[in-house]
């Protein structure tokens, strides 16, 4: 009975939780509610993924209106995986939130913080679950508006300007997507994503569809922060509260990337085949440039969170590059990277949050000696950093491996070399951090050990441990990702 309604429940639950938070009016119970909701969503999402992998696509007609007229929630291998990514990282971050938020957000705003967080979660899960293009836009705006709020709650006044900038660029991006969807509706008269693909096919390409594709591409590129449309991201991540940085870095761009997959493969690919899409000509080079340029910029960052933020821009590049390769291995790499990067960046931002809990805003130079003072926190950071580079036996390796294999299979040698060469840049920027933490002499050599409290450390290590676990046993994640990739490739045939 419940399982039948799961596709809607995972979205509705946080959506209902948000106003409840407002009613609760205090931080602690609101946090408890957030925790419960995120864990329930996570359980639901895992059940959905299992169901989809064993029994195939689940279609759920919201309110009983049959698709394509009503809004359809359609769970296939791809978005089931995405639901798991989003809800699982949130479920890990939620327990971390209490202490971290208590140290960064004033008491009278905490319940509002949790309300915004649940709304954002609802929006992200909604984008993933829905099979309706306009509905996806609405959820995109729900998640974006609440994440502007979350960012603006950061401790520095610069959080406000960062949030405003994100608001302007995010709204433009979402509106571009809206225009694109409108143009497609003009041609086909439908908003259901599967139906869109089916109805576009017999019409052939025309200018309206091409313009729609262009608008959607640019809009999504803005939302995923694909270089050079990444301007909003570094400040937003750098000045947001620690929890929000981790939450957004793990989830927000991932969900927007999912929209890219959905529109490219599910709509345009399904209608015209992959050859008609500007994959190799536009996405591939853009992804490569993003991976390189953002890594180089990360190399010169002083602020630790900004460094990680630029690294996120680079990682988005990898995913886009994987899409651009347009073969099974490349796409598997891109999809599994959604997951692996979510846990990796989540772990890194949580570790930085731990540092910030003890020492305020963190610069690279300010890390000197912390390897000794906060050994467990820094060790978690090291694990995350290794995974970011893509060292074997970490999760990051698995995704890079598939990307490299994908490039080789596509016969694109320079791309394969470029992928690994850009990980070298990651080595360089990560090394700066590690050298500071472990090799530079501490400013006060005899400062006592000052480890982070367990309630912050345990979630951090859960994600860091996941980086190792999914690097050592990648069969589950890669299994799900390759299923999803095969599904997408099939759609586009």
């Amino acid at each position: 009975m419940i399982s039948e309604h799961l596709p809607a429940l995972v979205v509705v639950l946080p959506l209902l939780g948000a106003p409840l938070c407002l009613v609760l009016r205090r931080g602690a119970p609101a946090w408890g509610l957030t925790l419960a909701v995120s864990w329930l969503c996570c359980a639901g999402a895992i059940a959905l993924l299992d169901g989809v992998l064993s029994e195939g696509v689940v279609s759920y007609a919201l309110g009983g209106w049959t698709p394509p007229w009503g809004i359809e929630y359609r769970i296939d291998p791809l978005n089931a995986l995405l639901l798991v990514i989003v809800s699982a990282t949130t479920a890990v971050i939620a327990p971390y939130a209490r202490r971290s938020v208590a140290s960064e957000v004033p008491a009278e705003r905490r319940h509002l913080f949790y309300a915004a967080m649940l709304l954002s979660l609802a929006g992200l899960l909604g984008i993933a679950a829905t099979g309706d293009a306009f509905n996806a836009f609405v959820f995109l705006e729900i998640s974006s508006l609440s994440s502007y709020i979350l960012i603006s709650l950061g401790p520095s006044p610069r959080a406000l300007t960062a949030a405003f900038r994100y608001l302007v660029l995010g709204t433009i991006g979402a509106t571009f997507i809206l225009i694109g969807v409108g143009l497609l509706y003009m041609v086909t008269g439908t908003l259901n994503i599967v139906d869109l693909g089916a109805r576009l096919a017999p019409l052939g390409t025309n200018r309206t569809v091409s313009v729609g594709l262009a608008f959607i591409s640019v809009g999504i590129a803005l939302k995923v922060a694909l270089f050079p449309l990444h301007a909003w991201l570094p400040n937003a991540y750098a000045y947001a509260p620690s929890v929000v940085s981790a939450f957004l870095a793990a989830n927000a761009t991932k969900v927007a990337l999912y929209l890219l997959f959905r529109f490219y493969f599910g709509v345009f690919g399904a209608a015209y085949g992959l050859e008609a899409l500007p994959l190799e000509t536009i996405l591939l080079p853009l992804g490569l440039i993003a991976a390189f340029v953002a890594s180089v910029v990360a190399l010169f960052q002083i602020d630790l969170k900004r460094l990680l933020a630029y690294s996120s821009v680079a990682q988005v590049g990898y995913v886009v590059l994987g899409v651009g390769l347009a073969n099974q291995a490349g796409l598997t790499g891109a999809i599994v990277h959604l997951f692996n990067h979510a846990i990796t960046k989540g772990a890194l931002f949580l570790a930085v949050g731990c540092l910030a809990y003890r020492g305020g805003r963190m610069t690279v130079a300010g890390l000197a000696g912390l390897g000794r003072r906060m050994p467990l926190t820094m060790a978690a950071f090291v694990v995350g950093a290794l995974s970011l580079i893509g060292i074997p036996a970490t999760a990051g390796f698995i995704s890079k491996w598939y990307l490299v294999i994908g490039a080789i299979e596509a016969g694109l040698w320079p791309v394969a070399i470029a992928i690994v060469a850009s990980s070298l840049l990651a080595v360089a920027y990560v090394w700066r951090v590690l050298e500071a933490a472990y090799l530079r002499p501490a400013p006060e050599p005899n400062a006592p050990r000052n480890e982070t409290p367990a309630s912050l450390l345990v979630p951090t290590w859960l994600l860091a441990g996941a980086c190792i676990y999914f690097g050592i046993d990648g069969s589950r994640t890669v299994g799900a990702a390759s299923e999803a990739a095969a599904f997408l490739m099939n759609l586009a045939r």
Binding site: P157, F164, T175
Partner: protein
């Protein structure tokens, strides 16, 4: 020339879109930017509404006439939602501007950048 004029609704949408985007990009005053954003969004609303028009149709409200021709109601419904989103965005944007004004004492972008610079 005729075909250009026939599609005047699209031209208006495009002009508004460009005006809105230009305002967002070129204006340093944060409130003007929000207004630009509004203009930009409004252009999209017009685009949606105008494509739902059926020639000779009336507004999509059921009237007591079996031969009545209605315009397509779906775009209207969509745009109602989009307007709500737009209002929320504007409200949030303005709220942020109020907070920025409290923190920095100005809402001019270049002055804020100057104030932020020494903090690096």
């Amino acid at each position: 020339m005729r075909s250009v004029l026939d599609h005047y609704n699209y031209w208006i949408a495009i002009i508004l879109m460009v005006v809105g985007l230009y305002t967002v990009v070129a204006r340093g005053n944060l409130i003007k930017r929000v207004i630009g954003l509004n203009v930009f969004q409004t252009s999209v609303f017009l685009l949606y509404i105008s494509m739902g028009v059926v020639t000779g149709g009336t507004a999509p409200i059921v009237i007591d006439d079996p031969d009545a021709v209605y315009s397509n109601p779906l775009p209207h419904v969509l745009i109602l939602t989009a307007i709500v989103v737009g209002v929320a965005t504007t409200a949030l944007g303005l709220a942020l501007i109020v907070r920025i004004r409290e923190a920095y004492g100005t809402i001019e972008d270049d002055e804020i950048s100057q104030l932020e610079e020494p903090e690096r």
